[in-house]
């Protein structure tokens, strides 16, 4: 019974989370914290932290986390499938429509509106991550600025523009530099 409940709840979340992972969060909270008590509020905020430090889309991370908590690995699988099924069906329809009518001016017009919007949304995601890295949860001011991460971001960007370094290596090296800095400051203080 728990499996059916998990499946249906995550189907609902999957079908309504327009706008990506963060749009799913209020729905996950409604289903898992408020309606079904699968998670406490503290566990829900842990879930957000974990989603940010583990790879992959946040919504699938959430489905796995909630499924694991309530019904072990089978629960994780059922919740994840539930979450992915409605979007999969909708995406299939979108693909079929574009395959058949993709050359229609109407669909081309829609795409020419969507593409620049997507660039903007990517830029916003980048700003959010930069702010989180440089200021954390503190108010933005000169005093609360983490000069180290700000400089690291600028350096990484410069290296990427000049040397065309791969994204994964840039991210990994920045992570290592972060650990080294923590280690060195620990030694000095």
């Amino acid at each position: 019974m728990i499996f059916l409940k998990l499946f249906l709840s995550f189907c609902y979340i999957g079908a309504l989370s327009f706008g990506g992972g963060y749009a799913a969060l209020p729905l996950i909270r409604e289903q898992c914290v408020d309606l079904n008590a699968w998670l406490s509020m503290a566990e829900f905020s842990d879930l957000l932290t974990i989603s940010q430090i583990t790879p992959g889309p946040i919504a699938i991370n959430s489905a796995t986390f909630v499924g694991m908590k309530t019904a072990g690995i089978p629960g994780a699988v059922v919740a994840s499938i539930g979450f992915m099924l409605p979007p999969f069906i909708i995406v299939t329809l979108i693909f079929l429509i574009f395959k058949k009518y993709g050359r229609l001016p109407l669909l081309q017009d829609i795409l020419s509106g969507l593409k620049p919007a997507v660039v903007a949304l990517i830029a916003v995601a980048g700003m959010d991550i930069l702010f989180e890295a440089v200021w954390g949860s503190q108010a933005i001011s000169l005093a609360s600025t983490n000069i180290f991460t700000a400089a690291l971001a600028v350096m990484a960007f410069t290296v990427m523009r000049i040397r065309k370094t791969g994204a994964i290596s840039v991210i990994l090296v920045c992570g290592i530099i972060g650990v080294l800095q923590h280690f060195v400051t620990g030694l000095l203080l």
């Binding site: 430090i53 583990t54 992959g56 693909f95 050359r103 509106g113 593409k115 990484a156 650990v179």
Partner: protein
């Protein structure tokens, strides 16, 4: 329209989406630079413009944008079996990793070295995204797509300053695209 792209095998599709998903901390738009690097530059499965299209379509459906986009890519490259390979490849890493992390997440969450690494990685991710945005904006600047740049600026402002849900931004920009297209055609006929 998509004839010039190379065709992968199902296994290659699975493997590459798996690696993409396994190495992207955070998810969402963080994955775009990696999709571009892997699918456009390295493998040549899709071109730059197609990537923007896949992301736009993936964002128009509910659910995780990356899963949706890789599924559409799978459909285009290899039909239904391609879509399923891409779905499994993208979805399995978070499923496996989270199942493992669940058991000892307090340890990971409260570890000072983990948070130091994450802070550094966030700086790196911000740089990677900035690089991608520059790459994605420059074709619009070159062909001076004023309308597109205006849509971009408006979408950025409402999303960044007013925190408007990405779904609404996408929806209204799609409608805007229809209106602009209709006006253009009307003018074209009149001229």
């Amino acid at each position: 329209m998509y004839a010039k792209t190379k065709k992968p095998t199902c296994w290659a599709l699975f493997l590459n989406t798996f690696i993409l998903s396994a190495f992207t901390i955070g998810g969402g738009y963080v994955m775009v630079p990696l999709m571009r690097e892997r699918f456009v530059d390295k493998l040549g499965w899709i071109d730059r413009d197609e990537l923007a299209e896949l992301i736009a379509l993936g964002q128009s459906a509910p659910g995780a944008m990356v899963v949706n986009s890789t599924v559409i890519m799978g459909y285009r490259l290899l039909g239904t079996r391609g879509a399923v390979s891409a779905l499994l490849g993208t979805a399995l890493p978070p499923l496996i990793i989270l199942s493992a992390v669940c058991r000892f997440y307090e340890l990971i969450r409260d570890n000072a070295y983990v948070s130091a690494a994450l802070r550094g990685m966030r700086a790196g991710v911000a740089a990677v995204i900035a690089d991608t945005v520059v790459n994605m904006v420059s074709p619009y600047l070159k062909r001076s797509g004023v309308t597109s740049l205006a849509i971009m600026a408006a979408a950025f402002l409402v999303s960044f300053l007013y925190d408007v849900n990405a779904g609404y931004v996408i929806l209204s920009c799609g409608v805007l695209g229809i209106i602009i297209g209709a006006i253009r055609r009307k003018r074209g006929k009149a001229a």
